[in-house]
Symmetry: C2
């Protein structure tokens, strides 16, 4: 007998940052599990900018477009309530590719499903420091960005989950850390709570000029989450042999056609820069090792994370839209299940 | 007593690819040598696309703009006829930063001047395989591009000196090599003389589509000499984790303002590409080692080079302009001195 399950289904390709006409909340019974599937009661699911891309029609993004009529895919934290996969059983806490829904159905042999520990002071950190955002931040700083102690490190969307973690990791690594963000409140959070050396509110200044003043010797590593005009401003300020770790191109995601590339693209040659694009599913297998490396910093309070939790599946679209208008600090989650009730299952 | 010396002097910032109103041939006596200077009788000087950049006003290129009233700088091959530097003496064959002129005055403590051997079957190769173009090709393929045997390697401006050498080096390394060029004659040279696996005449086809057909599994390494629309067409065809070695952005050089970046810039993220800009003066010090590595291929006839030699200093501007209109195959040189007479000095 199925569970009543509400899920957000893509019905049309969205226009810009409007989702009400593109995604519909549909209620149905969960089907009988097929061999190899697990049924997960979602506690949280993650709101990720990248999801916007596969809502669109473009064929040349990470993944093919989500077919119309299909539920929206997202990373979820939840508990297995039924399993027809030998490696998972009812009561397991898992992080998985699931759906914007009350329940997720996932097939571990085909998509990411991983059992995670309940012994964590804040289980949301499975979708924060100790999940894909944390791994992305760690590798973006230390491998793709190849940051060295003493270097100047700049990160955009710095008050988002990945940006905030990247800045803190760079700081632990001995860099001078500058965050680009979009409001005084966010800037204050970065410098006062997270230990950034400086923050620039890009809505209040000429960013290129502000970077020139804040980073007079140039930017050695730029961790880019947004692309567009912000990238251009940083490119104009890169130091010789600098590195640009391209983690996200937020301004491109709600476009159905490619945008013009950075006008200062030629700086890659003039400054002999290295730019590298990276994407977390490529290194999910390194997660356990990366978590071990980050755990000491976390335990010392050096890797802090704010969570912006929207309660209620029905409120997903507004929360998602706010992700692109700069209204969020830290990790954006939707809470659809009860953590306490679930943790009692272990 | 000085020598009569004609030299090309920059009088105005050029517009587009027209040089007659911007550069003037001036004749004067060479001055008395200052302490630390050497006087070089030029045999050949090199015509390089990059020179166009510092003729312009842009401050954000490799080097500051050439001051108006100064001679045009270029790499020369010539013989020292007078020296006030302890490491050089009259009769030395040198490769140096000199001038578009009959004679160059260079200061080895401040600019590149290196004694080179007369024991080379074709001394022009000091400005070909065994000079900056060869080093650029070698490192662009093997280090910046990190080409691996079996991979698909694409190079633009493939019939230019750097492109032709890069393709041959990639071929020796075991890659499948495709050259992008601008005429049937150049395409034939690449495939019939240099051993490229394929060549695409970008003026005869839809380049993006032609690359899709020629490289059905994607482009693993792209050695870019041109930027612009060609780069976009290749970006659309890169394979996952591909590398773009950005050696030159020819289409940008005669622009006084930055051009828009590649419209397919977002492919750096979608395909997790690495793009690296590089510039030969950064690795001049590695030249002797790189020449040792390339010599066996050269001796086996695996690194061939065509020379497009313009005789006569007075013909420099027409030859230089042709560099940008695709009229050259191989290394473009101007010959201003007599090789035989000079070699008698050694």
């Amino acid at each position: 007998m199925g569970e009543q399950n509400r899920q957000w289904v893509l019905t049309h390709r969205p226009v810009g940052n409007k989702y009400a006409d593109a995604v519909e909340l549909v209620s149905m019974q969960t089907p009988d599990l097929a061999e190899g599937d697990v049924l997960i009661r979602n506690i949280y699911f993650s709101l990720d900018a990248g999801t916007r891309m596969w809502m669109g029609p473009r064929e040349d993004s990470y993944s093919p477009p989500t077919p119309l009529g299909s539920p929206i895919i997202s990373t979820v934290l939840g508990s297995v309530v039924a399993s027809r996969h030998p490696d998972f059983q009812s009561g397991d806490l898992v992080r998985a590719y699931g759906q914007w829904a009350d329940f997720s159905i996932s097939r571990p042999d085909e998509v990411y499903v991983e059992r995670v520990s309940r012994r964590l002071d804040d289980l949301r950190q499975h979708l924060g420091v100790f999940g894909a955002n944390g791994w992305t931040a760690y590798l973006g700083v230390l491998e793709y960005g190849a940051a060295r102690p003493g270097e100047t490190f700049v990160v955009s969307a710095a008050s988002g989950v990945t940006g905030a973690l990247a800045g803190q990791i760079a700081k632990q690594h001995g860099c001078r850390v500058v965050g680009i963000t979009g409001s005084p409140r966010k800037s204050a959070w970065l410098t006062e709570e997270l230990g950034f050396d400086a923050a620039i509110d890009r809505n209040a200044v000429d960013l290129e000029q502000a970077l020139r003043e804040t980073c007079p010797e140039g930017v050695d590593v730029y961790f880019d989450n947004v692309g567009g005009a912000v990238l251009d401003s940083v490119l104009a300020n890169m130091s010789l042999f600098g590195r640009v770790a391209v983690c996200g191109l937020l301004v491109h995601y709600d476009q159905n056609e490619p945008l013009p590339g950075p006008a200062r693209f030629d700086q890659i040659l003039m400054k002999r820069l290295t730019m590298t694009g990276f994407f977390s599913p490529d290194f999910y297998h390194r997660g356990p090792d990366l978590n071990r490396r980050m755990r000491p910093w976390y335990e010392q309070g050096k890797l802090q994370m704010a969570f912006d939790v929207t309660p209620g599946l029905e409120n997903t679209l507004d929360a998602y839209s706010t992700l692109f208008t700069g209204g969020k600090i830290g990790k954006a989650l939707v809470q659809v299940g009860d953590l306490d009730a679930t943790s009692g299952l272990s």
